[in-house]
């Protein structure tokens, strides 16, 4: 047991080493090439600076990376997260909206519906979207990419129908607090991520869920033979991923004070996948590290901010990110080959190659 724990520790250490290394490299680059990057100052009791900004902007991505990690660990993929994000943002924005009313002669903006109701409805819709993916993939056994493709295509259309093709602006102040408010000097959304991360960590570390998930991702068939409820666990992963995308949608809507069904979360699925891959997780499923993915999300956001800051056109970020994924994947496949061979798992590798 002790030796096993040690091995675990070593693996995790190595897994977290690369994303942290990437983060340090990027930050070092920023330190030398971008003036005042590390400058943090306190205005009105809030911390301001590029670093705080990166963490704040990375929060939606962190949420999605957490959900995506679980889905990828189960051996699947969820490419519908961008569309779910758009749906959730659209629902929140249209339900809160905001009208000007005069209270004692003072103009005030009031929400159409109570904010809690709007957020609850948006979250329920996101979970339902995730359950729909799960229905196709876990229950009917549709290929994960194809199953989530349906919602990717339909989701944006649904979001557009909700907002009727318009960009909905929100005028209700308390709502902005979620995405751009400060609590004890730090952006409020950071606390949201921390709380959610703690919850998911508890789920995967302190309950059997994490163990089941790892087992299913490593070998679906033998997990089924062991008597695990493969369907329910997979289903839960997609539901959580949907929920994560929904929360991210609310945060983004609150940050930009509006909902644009056309462009909200466009291409964000690549960022989420990139975060997971950067976090040292295998795309093939099995062993996973949620902390790694969260650090991965930080790296992605730092990369984006850096590219913006050095004045390269934003579209080029897509090229850089895609190249990063390719390089990591190449390294991962090489490392996987050598480590498996070292462990005497050449047969397992062959079987895997034949399957792929």
């Amino acid at each position: 047991m002790d030796a096993r724990k040690k091995l675990d520790k070593r693996l995790i250490d190595r897994q977290l080493f690369w994303p942290l290394f990437a983060l340090v490299v990027l930050l070092t680059f920023d330190f030398f090439y971008i003036k005042g990057f590390f400058h943090i100052e306190i205005i009105d009791g809030h911390l301001y600076g590029s670093l705080i900004d990166i963490v704040n902007r990375a929060t939606p991505l962190m949420f999605m990376a957490i959900g995506m990690t679980l889905v990828i660990a189960s051996g699947g993929i969820d490419i519908s997260v961008g569309s779910v994000l758009a749906i959730s943002g659209a629902i929140t924005a249209i339900m809160i909206g905001g009208d000007m009313v005069f209270v004692d002669g003072v103009p005030k903006y009031a929400a159409h519906n109570p904010m809690s109701v709007a957020i609850l409805v948006a979250l329920i819709a996101s979970v339902v979207s995730g359950l729909w993916n799960g229905l196709l993939i876990a229950k009917l056994g549709v290929n994960a990419m194809v199953g989530t493709l349906i919602l990717l295509v339909a989701g944006r259309g649904i979001a557009q129908l909700i907002v009727n093709g318009n960009v909905i602006t929100v005028y209700y102040e308390p709502f902005f607090y979620i995405g751009s408010g400060f609590f004890l000097g730090l952006p409020f959304s950071i606390y949201l991520v921390a709380a959610f991360l703690a919850l998911v960590m508890w789920l995967v570390k302190k309950t059997a869920f994490g163990l089941f998930l790892e087992s299913i991702g490593s070998n679906r068939v033998s997990s089924r033979f062991t008597g695990l409820d493969v369907q329910t666990v997979t289903w839960a992963c997609y539901a959580i991923s949907g929920l994560c995308a929904g929360i991210a949608g609310i945060i983004i809507a609150s940050e930009v004070k509006s909902a644009d069904a056309n462009s909200a979360g466009l291409f964000i699925e690549l960022d989420a996948i990139l975060s997971v891959v950067l976090g040292g997780n295998s795309m093939a499923g099995g062993r996973f590290s949620i902390i790694g993915s969260v650090i991965g999300a930080l790296v992605v956001q730092t990369l984006t901010t850096t590219i913006y800051a050095i004045g390269v056109p934003p579209e080029v970020t897509m090229v850089v990110k895609a190249l990063v994924v390719i390089v990591i994947y190449l390294v991962q496949s090489q490392m996987g080959k050598t480590s498996l061979k070292a462990a005497g798992g050449a047969t397992a590798l062959k079987a895997k190659e034949a399957k792929a």
Partner: protein, 333 residues
């Protein structure tokens, strides 16, 4: 029994053709002016580039892969054509050759990563999609118009089939590609290898088929075809912009699936993809004729159809499996 089995293979394709006929009849009954040759021909005229990419998508899916980069490659190829002619004064023939070369190379690299570096196809092509879109903006951030006389002629020429029924040159290109793809898929060694790989890659390898070479060739062909579709897209749009042909890969995949190609690979007909595109087109036309429906309904309707077809496929596959005695090898999948 044997004839019945062959029939079950054709079922998805037959359903698709029947659905197309049904939609057309429904449209003709409900709307004035719907029942005309030109409405059908316009489906081809407006979707010729989509037909071309749907064909290559169908072949890739038959092989058990997927190509998400085709929409972005269309944008890239039209951008390269437009930019090289307007800013670098390339001759149109040279521009077209350059584009086909670039896109083939693009496809080749994706195929190489998938085959030899064991990338999952969708990861490789998703990265390809982002790189292609990014490259468009690195070339030019704005809309680049095409004023070349050759492209103008190709864009404006209309071929009269009968009174009141015309097609554009793009349709001829698309039909030529269709003929080539039918030939490739059903009458060449390469095509048979593609079907075999889609059915079971390991068995194909054990049978001594050149699996690796076939896979790389198929993705290269897909890149080439996307480049060609980009040129046809230029005939249609006469301009290039980095965000053109957004999400076209989804339409192409949907068309292939609606056309009866099994997502698990090994089963399907490239011609089915054409009917898939026609169904997507006719739904768009129906929604336009209806007039008071939001155009977003098109996407939802396509997704709905895609969903229905995928679920039907799964049920067919599960049924077929349950008829057989379960063997460990099959269970592994």
């Amino acid at each position: 029994m044997k004839s019945l089995q062959i029939n079950s293979k054709f079922i998805p394709l037959l359903i698709t053709i029947a659905l197309f006929g049904g939609l057309f009849v429904a449209g003709s009954v409900s709307y004035r002016g719907f029942f005309s040759m030109q409405v059908v021909l316009n489906l081809l005229v407006d979707n010729s580039f989509l037909i071309i990419v749907a064909l290559s998508q169908a072949l890739i899916i038959i092989m058990g892969g997927i190509d998400l980069s085709c929409g972005a490659l269309i944008a890239l190829s039209s951008m390269v054509v437009a930019y090289s002619m307007s800013h670098l004064n390339f001759h149109p023939a040279l521009a077209i050759l350059a584009v086909l070369g670039v896109c083939s190379l693009f496809g080749f690299i994706q195929g190489w990563l998938i085959t030899y570096q064991k990338f999952q196809p969708f990861i490789s092509t998703l990265c390809g999609m982002f790189i292609a879109r990014g490259m468009c903006f690195m070339i030019n951030q704005d809309t680049v118009p095409i004023t070349d006389p050759f492209f103008m002629t190709m864009a404006t020429t209309r071929i009269k089939l009968m009174p009141g029924a015309v097609i554009s040159t793009s349709v001829l290109v698309a039909l030529a590609i269709l003929a080539i793809y039918i030939y490739i898929a059903h009458f060449t060694r390469f095509g048979r290898a593609v079907y075999a790989i889609g059915g079971n890659e390991q068995s194909a390898r054990l049978m001594g088929l050149p699996v690796d070479r076939t896979k790389v060739m198929a993705y290269t062909l897909s890149g080439f075809t996307s480049g060609l579709a980009g040129i046809v897209f230029c005939f249609y749009m006469l301009s290039a912009y980095g965000l053109n042909a957004m999400a076209l890969e989804m339409d192409a995949i949907a068309a292939a699936v609606i056309g009866g190609t099994l997502m698990t690979g090994g089963v399907g007909y490239v011609i089915g993809a054409v009917f898939g595109v026609m169904i997507e087109g006719i739904m768009q036309t129906l929604i336009t004729f209806q007039g008071d429906l939001n155009s977003w309904w098109t996407r939802i309707a396509i997704a709905f159809l895609l969903c229905v077809f995928i679920v039907v496929q799964r049920i067919l596959v599960l049924k077929r499996e349950s008829r057989k005695v379960m063997r460990p090898v099959e269970f592994l999948d």
